[in-house]
Amino acid sequence: MSGTGGTPAHREDTAPAAGRVRRFLRQNSLGLFFLVTFLLALAGQAVAGHARFNDELRGDGMAPISFGAYLTTSDFAVDVTENWQSEYLQFFLYIFATVWLLQRGSPESKELGKAGPESDEEQMTGAHARADSPRWAAAGDWRGLLYSRSLGLVMGAIFLLSWLAQSVTGVAAHNEEQLRGLEAPTSWAGYLSSADFWSRTLQNWQSELLAVASMAVLSIYLRQRGSPESKPVGASHDATGVEG
C-alpha cells in the first residue's frame, strides 16, 4: 500500500490507516475467519440445496425454481435453522455444564474441586470488581446476577429461537412435501410430535454431543501445540483446567 506514489502528506494519512486495518485483521482473525467460512459454507449449502430441490421437483413433474426463489423456501430455511439450533444448544449446554461438571485431565474442565459458580473474589464481581471490570460485574443487584450468566442465557435464547424457527419452517417444508405427494397437511402442533421434526432435531443433537464428549476426553491425552483448546504439549495427562 505505501510507497506507490502521492504526496508525502497523503502517504502519512494512508500508511497509518493501512496499519490499522492490518492490526484489526490480525487481532480479529479468529472471528473473521469463522464468519467468512460460515458465509462460504452457507452459500455452498444454498447452491447444493437448490440443485437437490429442483431434482426432486422434476422427479415429481413440477417446475424447477430459480436460485433466488429457493432462498425463500421453507426447504432451505429448515435445513439452515435445524443446524443453528443444535450448535447453540451445544454451546449453551457446554457453558452451563462446565460450571458444575468436571473432567479430570481435560483443558476443557475447571480444576478439580472448583465446581460451582465460584466466589466473588475469584470471579472479580461485586466488591472485588476491578477498575476495568464491566460495569454490571460490580453491581450487587439483578444486574450483577444477569451479567454473571449472560453468555449462557444468550446462547440458550438463540437456541430456543432457532429451534422455534426450525419448527415453523419445518412444518411448512413438510406440508409442501405432503401436498406434492397428494397427502393432507399437518398442523404446527401435530408437527411437533412428528417423526420428521424429531428426526431432524435428534440427528443434529447427537452429533453435537458426540463432538463435545470427544473434545473433553481426547484433549486429556492428545495435544495441539499452540492452541488454547489444548494443554501445553508437555503437560501431564492428569493436569486439569490447564490451557496451552
Binding site: 413433474g61 413440477m62 426463489a69 425463500t72 453468555l151 438463540i158 432457532s162 424457527a165 401436498l179 397428494l182
Partner: protein
C-alpha cells in the same frame, strides 16, 4: 414458509461470542422476513390465486368446457390423462367422471403446493411459471394413505 400466514480487549472472551450471537439473531430475523414475504406474493395473495384457479376449474367442469379443463391441468397430469385414455385431453376429460365440487371449504398453501377442499371434491394444485395448475382432481381422502384421485400426474 413463503406462504405461511417466519473492540473488547482479549480479557473478555465472551464478548466476541455474544456479538456473533447478536449477528446470528439479526440474520435469523432477516431470513424469517425473507422467507415469509417470499418472491411470489403475500400468503393471502397466493391463497386468493389458488382459490380463483380452483373455482375456474370447477366452473369449466360444470359448463362442460373440456378445453378449459385441460388448460388448467399441470403438464404431467395432462400427459397422464392423455396416456391413460389414449386420446387427446379434451376428449379424455369428457369421459372422466369428476364430481361437481360445490363451495370451497378450506384452502392450504405451502410453498408451491396447494390443496383446495370443496364440498364434494378436493383439488391439488402446484405453481408453474404460467400460474397455478391442477395436479390432481376428484380426490377422496384415505386413512394413513395419499388421496385417491380420479386424475393425477404420473
Amino acid at each position: 414458509m413463503r406462504d405461511r400466514q417466519p473492540g473488547p480487549a482479549p480479557e473478555h472472551p465472551g464478548a466476541g461470542i455474544r456479538r456473533r450471537g447478536r449477528a446470528a439473531a439479526v440474520a435469523a430475523a432477516a431470513l424469517a422476513v425473507l422467507v415469509t414475504v417470499g418472491s411470489c406474493g403475500t400468503p393471502s395473495e397466493r391463497r386468493d390465486q389458488v382459490t380463483a384457479q380452483a373455482v375456474r376449474f370447477e366452473r369449466a367442469l360444470d359448463a362442460g368446457r373440456d378445453g378449459d379443463l385441460c388448460a388448467a391441468l399441470a403438464p404431467s397430469t395432462l400427459e397422464e390423462v392423455e396416456q391413460s385414455a389414449k386420446s387427446r385431453c379434451a376428449q379424455a376429460m369428457g369421459d372422466e367422471d369428476l364430481p361437481h365440487a360445490g363451495a370451497v371449504r378450506n384452502v392450504d398453501v405451502y410453498g408451491d403446493q396447494a390443496r383446495v377442499v370443496m364440498e364434494h371434491d378436493t383439488l391439488f394444485l402446484a405453481h408453474f411459471p404460467g400460474g397455478w395448475k391442477v395436479t390432481a382432481a376428484g380426490c377422496r381422502p384415505r386413512p394413513q394413505q395419499p388421496y385417491q384421485c380420479e386424475i393425477k400426474g404420473g
